[in-house]
């Protein structure tokens, strides 16, 4: 698959603060890429540079193979969906969705109310716009709401209008900046599948900024983990989960926070830091690792055990729901499959090539 968008060695400084440091990201045609990271890691700046709302201090931005650093956001023909929805409060839903089209199809004169209808071609353009807006609204279930103002909509509806505004102009690329973070948990999950469906339907590349690794894992086919203005690792969700490139990525990816065991905690492999996910660690009569039980959380489908190694490191393990939890303070033996261990260099935090 060819690349639709590429950042090459992009650096962005604000004053003497470096927000992006020689970042290179490749977005494949038709892919769904998540830029994942904690706040302040540079993911939103990367997105704004892709959009043309911000420009790199150095480095290149390629869109469809050609350098677009001289083009404005509009000239790049990218669509963007914002965290705050950024709907125009004084325009109706229909006008909000239509705005990118009116800017494109109607001349300045044609946009003037009443007078505009006298401009040749304006009526034709208006009809086209109207039908496109109708189509977009229909596909997002907004047909009933076209005459409302954004202030009268719920959060989910606003988000759909924002998507409609992006959809209607048939962009080369969709850029989404934490689009779901202002929604409540249930709606978030529903909108997640709607956005995925939209991605399949349009077949266009989506770049999706989020700090929520679950969202990234659920939707993306490529995840770019950004830490401190650098790309820490880019790859498929499974690759990131199974072979995190360093400690930081390992800590970031995964529903349960990964355990890091130092030499002396019970698993010693050439002085490496051992990463072991709680879901790969369960009570076993013959387990190699022992810990003193501190507390247990019963979650219905499973039980999360918090233990402490002899050295004092906290260890979390997941037991099946029918596990008979011993009294706090008891010794518990834990078992794991050797190929589930992740080994990181104690000094650099980088993943070691060989696993025992």
């Amino acid at each position: 698959m060819s690349a639709i968008l590429e950042l090459r060695d992009v650096t962005r400084r604000f004053g003497d603060k470096t927000v992006l440091d020689k970042v290179s990201i490749t977005i494949a045609q038709g892919s769904f890429t998540a830029l994942l990271g904690a706040s302040g890691c540079g993911k939103s700046t990367s997105l704004r540079i892709m959009a043309g709302l911000d420009r790199p201090t150095s480095g290149e931005v390629l869109l469809g193979g050609s350098d677009v650093s001289g083009l404005s956001a509009y000239e790049r023909n990218v669509a963007m969906v914002f965290q705050s929805y950024a709907l125009y409060p004084h325009l109706t839903v229909a006008q909000n969705i239509a705005l990118p089209l009116t800017m494109r199809h109607l001349s300045a004169l044609g946009r003037v109310p009443f007078l505009g209808s006298l401009v040749p071609g304006a009526a034709e353009a208006r009809r086209t716009i109207l039908s496109k807006v109708g189509e977009a609204a229909e596909s997002l279930g907004l047909a009933e709401l076209l005459d409302r103002k954004p202030g009268q909509l719920s959060g989910g509806q606003k988000q759909r209008v924002a998507l409609g505004r992006a959809l209607v102009r048939d962009p080369a690329l969709f850029l989404l900046d934490e689009p779901l973070s202002n929604l409540d948990a249930r709606l978030r999950i529903r909108m997640r599948s709607e956005i995925s469906a939209l991605h399949r339907r349009t077949g266009k590349a989506f770049v999706y900024v989020t700090h929520d690794q679950t969202e990234a894992m659920a939707m993306a086919d490529q995840i770019v983990v950004m830490i401190g203005g650098d790309v820490a690792q880019a790859g498929a969700p499974r690759e990131l989960y199974e072979r995190p490139a360093n400690r930081d990525v390992a800590a970031f990816i995964g529903h349960n926070a990964i355990n890091f065991l130092e030499p002396g905690d019970g698993i010693d492999v050439d002085g490496a830091i051992v990463g072991l996910r709680p879901e790969d660690l369960a009570p076993a009569a013959t387990g190699a690792l022992t810990g003193r039980l501190e507390s247990a959380e019963y979650l219905g489908s499973e039980i999360v055990l918090s233990l402490r190694s002899a050295k004092g490191t906290e260890i979390r393990a997941i037991a099946p729901a029918d596990f008979d939890v011993p009294a706090p303070g008891s010794e518990v033996r834990l078992g794991y499959a050797p190929h589930k261990l992740h080994l990181f260099d104690a000094a650099t935090g980088v993943r070691r090539r060989t696993t025992p």
């Binding site: 420009r55 650093s69 001289g70 083009l71 404005s72």
Partner: protein
């Protein structure tokens, strides 16, 4: 040729802020610089040239009896207007705030009445005041006469005219200060009054002294500065009713600057008066800036 995006952005910024910035320079900063320079010259409007005269204009302003008159009259005017306008403004606001609990309609009507002079055209109202205070036909003197009291010449008695103007200045600004105080009062949390009541400060006066007054402290200072700023600019009433007379008894800084500059065309001298006036207002602004965060929120 297409301009680079940086160049286009810079041109956009220039297009957005350029006209306003140019206007600021043309109509504020450049004139301020010119007036400052002119104040050290003997320039007259229409003259072909001018001579540097050093501090002569300032010396003339502070040593001639007419010049001193304008300065002291302005200070007296401000000194009378501040306490009365702010005091009445506070009392009216406190009264209306209280009244809004048991007679909200009447309270609103009275608020409108008190604010009326702020919105009304001051020159027209000055003409009306002239008739109210007319020595023989005015309602005030007619009433005083019928009660057998002396009927002063409010606007042509040298000893009285400045106080008459001050009174009209107070009349004009009470409503404005009332609005600022009402905003300050609305911002006082009602729990404080409950707490005061629990602590035994139940009556109107003790509530005022334990809660209202201390909470309004910053507002009051701010209102005083605003009142002073406006009082220093007194011009319309003077120009309409007294033209600074009789015998300069009601001359003020702004009226003097108008008369010297635009009636006698002494641009240099008028510039010096302008600079003195400006210095007073800058001093007030300095006070205001120290308390700028305390700005009241009006509703």
């Amino acid at each position: 040729m297409r301009l680079s995006i940086e160049r286009r952005q810079a041109l956009t910024d220039l297009w957005l802020v350029g006209p306003a910035t140019l206007a600021l320079f043309l109509f504020i900063f450049l004139p301020v610089a010119i007036v400052a320079v002119l104040s050290f010259t003997d320039y007259q409007f229409g003259a072909a040239s001018f001579n540097w005269s050093g501090l002569d204009n300032y010396i003339k302003l502070f040593s001639s009896s007419i010049g001193r008159r304008a300065v002291t009259n302005t200070l007296i005017y401000v000194a009378i207007v501040i306490p009365f306008s702010v005091g009445f403004g506070l009392l009216v606001a406190a009264g209306l705030h209280q009244m809004s609990n048991w007679a909200p309609r009447l309270s609103n009507v009275l608020k409108t009445v008190y604010f009326l002079p702020v919105a009304a055209t001051l020159v027209a109202m000055s003409v009306a005041w002239q008739m109210v205070l007319h020595p023989s036909l005015g309602i005030v003197n007619q009433t005083l006469f019928s009660m057998g009291l002396p009927t002063p010449n409010w606007l042509s008695d040298r000893g009285l005219v400045l106080y008459t103007l001050s009174m009209i200045g107070i009349w004009q600004s009470v409503g404005y200060n009332m609005v600022l105080f009402l905003a300050g009062l609305a911002a006082i949390p009602s729990e404080l009054y409950d707490a005061a009541e629990v602590d035994g400060a139940g009556s109107g006066w003790s509530r005022f002294w334990t809660v209202t007054w201390p909470m309004l402290g910053p507002t009051t200072l701010f209102v005083m500065v605003v009142t002073a700023t406006n009082a220093f600019r007194v011009f319309e009433t003077v120009a309409t009713m007294t033209k600074g007379g009789p015998a300069f008894a009601s001359d003020t800084l702004v009226y003097a600057l108008y008369r010297e500059g635009f009636v006698y065309f002494k641009a240099g001298y008028a510039s010096a008066i302008t600079m003195v006036f400006f210095a007073f207002l800058l001093a007030l602004a300095l006070i205001q800036f120290r308390f700028v965060e305390k700005r009241v929120h009006y509703r």
